[in-house]
Amino acid sequence: MKRLFIPLILCMVLCQVQFAAAADRQEVQVATSTTSSPVPLTAAVAPSVKDPVTAKPAAPLAKEMKTNKAITLSMFFAIILFTGYIVVRAAKSTRTTADYYAAGGGISGFQNGWAIAGDYLSAATFLGIAGITSVFGADGFMYAVGPFFSFVTILLVIAEPCRNAGKYTLGDILSLRSASKVVRGTAALSAVVVSTFYLLGQMVGAGKLMQLLLGIPYSASVIGVGVLMILYVTFGGMKATTWVQIIKAFLLVLSGLTITFLLLWKFGFNLFAFYDAVASSPAIQEHVRGLLKHATPQPGFDYGQRFLEPGLILKDPLDQISLGIAFALGAAGLPHIMMRFFTVPNAQAARKSVVISMVLIGAFMIMVTLIGFGAALFITPQQITAVDKGGNMAAPMIAQFVGGGAGTLGGDLFLAFVCAVAFSTIIAVVSGLILAVSAAVAHDFYVNVLKDGKPDQKEQMKIARISAFVIGTIAIALGIACEKQNIAHLVVLAFAVVASSNFPVILFALFWKRFNAGGIVTGLTVGAVFAIGVVLVSPTMTYPKKIAADAKKVVEQLEQKQASGLLSADKEVTALAKARADYAKNKDGKSLVGLDAPLFPLKNPAILSVPVGFLAAIAGTFLFGTRREEEMFDELYIRQNTGYGMADASEH
């Protein structure tokens, strides 16, 4: 089976090249056909004043990045070959389930720190936060604080107790509190649900990203990423996943450092000069004026300075606090992050790994926001949103710019490098997720719930690999099915669900003597169901009536203009037609759960669902408790505090 690996990878790479070549031809047609079509709305506010920094002419903005396909593809090829080699090596030494799920406990604290950083810094963090900063300024920096702060909870509450008491999964820890199979089953189900949310968000994001980076069709990119991920996980298990994450984290930090260095170099490493240039950029000032919907510049209003102030996108303080709660408590219970602590030999190594990952992630987040501001300054928010509405291309574009610009060897090389790093990021993160789901399904559900822990090593390994394969295939299918869905919020939703279900349960299991099976099951199910329920009635969902109302406003404005004979530009005529069509399409629609307007005012449910999750866990404990389980607390408590009996757990 292992011999099949290299040929399989080669086939896949060739397929990608094929697609890219086909897409190349398509693009030419698209490019010729778009020249006559109207410029998108975002581009309509293109800078009319010449920008002194970039000296960009006020020509129509490019809708695509100019990439050198040969360089980009060979860079991807190199990354795939290199990681493939690691997987083949790791596959040779993956024999037992301890190897497969926890790399045999043989990862050092230092290595695990890099791997956690690799796991946590997803493409959403790198490209997403750079994008938010480049389009909405200081809000990007505020946003970056949340995911980083979550490590305080991981360090103080999760890392060491989990290493001391656990084995492969959350189910292992909880089953120290209750021998009930229902507990393990629920824990497995919760891990599957949460990881699926997270995974789906990543898969769809990956598909769209590869589409942008390589110009290959969406479904081809989802299949490509998915097949690679399945191969890596089924063959190499945790050892391969860990090394892919370490390498990816290293490449990511390296590219972040290089971009930041080259950016600040232009300003003699003077941060004040850099931010002064950002706030003085006419393009950014124009852009902020557009965001604030000021039709004409208000005298005395410093639009550039406004870009450095919060509130351009994060408007509702309660929503921000709610998001903060989801980040601060949610990351701590994510199954794929928790699993990383089982790969190190002891609690000291677990502690060291969190601290190392905190240094890496924190420094990287600060660099990413600098990169975002740099992109706003040199590429302009208008150009960034013209290529991708969410701003996801800000980091690759600034990489191309600092490398020497489009068409130069340096620019193309650096752009290709950053794209390849983003690609390895996606592969590493989805591999970690697949491994976590496979552990929940194979180890918790199949081996311990269905088969009473009886299967021998060989059968357990077989089941683990089969489940990784099946889950990966399902993930690919779901990823393709969800192309048109708005799934950007799925990853954040995963954080909220974990914060309201897993987190209260882990906390109580580790620290509350009276906690029992009743509390575990109630906490996990009520917390998760409630959080998902709140999201279904929140403004995150699409409300057709609201779209219709917005469209109607546009129609009315434009009709007034038309009536007074001012409507002349082609693009306004098409905008009017589009608004009318939007209104007709959406005026009788209802949201997914049949609502006209959201019932819950906030986008993030955590502020409400976290207390509900805690209350449910407490109520469950008092309603369905047994004395026997309180006695089991002593065992878990001693184990998690001291690591006593840990050897038993890892050799099991």
Partner: protein, 107 residues
């Protein structure tokens, strides 16, 4: 879990273990609450004290910028404090508890 049954309840009554876990708990809760308070202060200030967040500190750089940087520095500080305390105090104490258990000096 383990092959032979252990008397966990009597282990849990060891004075040294009680000292370890109560001190650890107090330390963790204090650190966690302090950190969280500072963390939530950022969105609270951004939402309810915009004038404060907009105040310029150096050149174009305002309170928002330094507040965000402070959050990063604070999180690192928590990591350093926790690691230091664990290395110098909790780890040796844990070792003592474990060797006591090994020698069977509990009850």
């Amino acid at each position: 879990m383990t092959a032979q049954r252990k008397d966990w309840a009597s282990l849990a009554r060891m004075p040294k273990f009680i000292e370890l876990h109560s001190r650890k708990k107090a330390f963790l809760i204090t650190l966690w609450c302090l950190g969280s308070a500072m963390f939530y202060l950022l969105p609270i200030c951004a939402g309810y004290a915009p004038a404060f967040m907009k105040a310029k500190v150096f050149g174009r750089l305002n309170v928002t910028y330094f507040f965000c940087l402070f959050e990063f520095a604070m999180t690192w500080a928590i990591a350093i404090i926790y690691t230091h305390r664990s290395n110098t105090y909790f780890d040796p104490l844990t070792k003592e508890v474990l060797s006591d258990i090994a020698r069977g000096e509990h009850a």
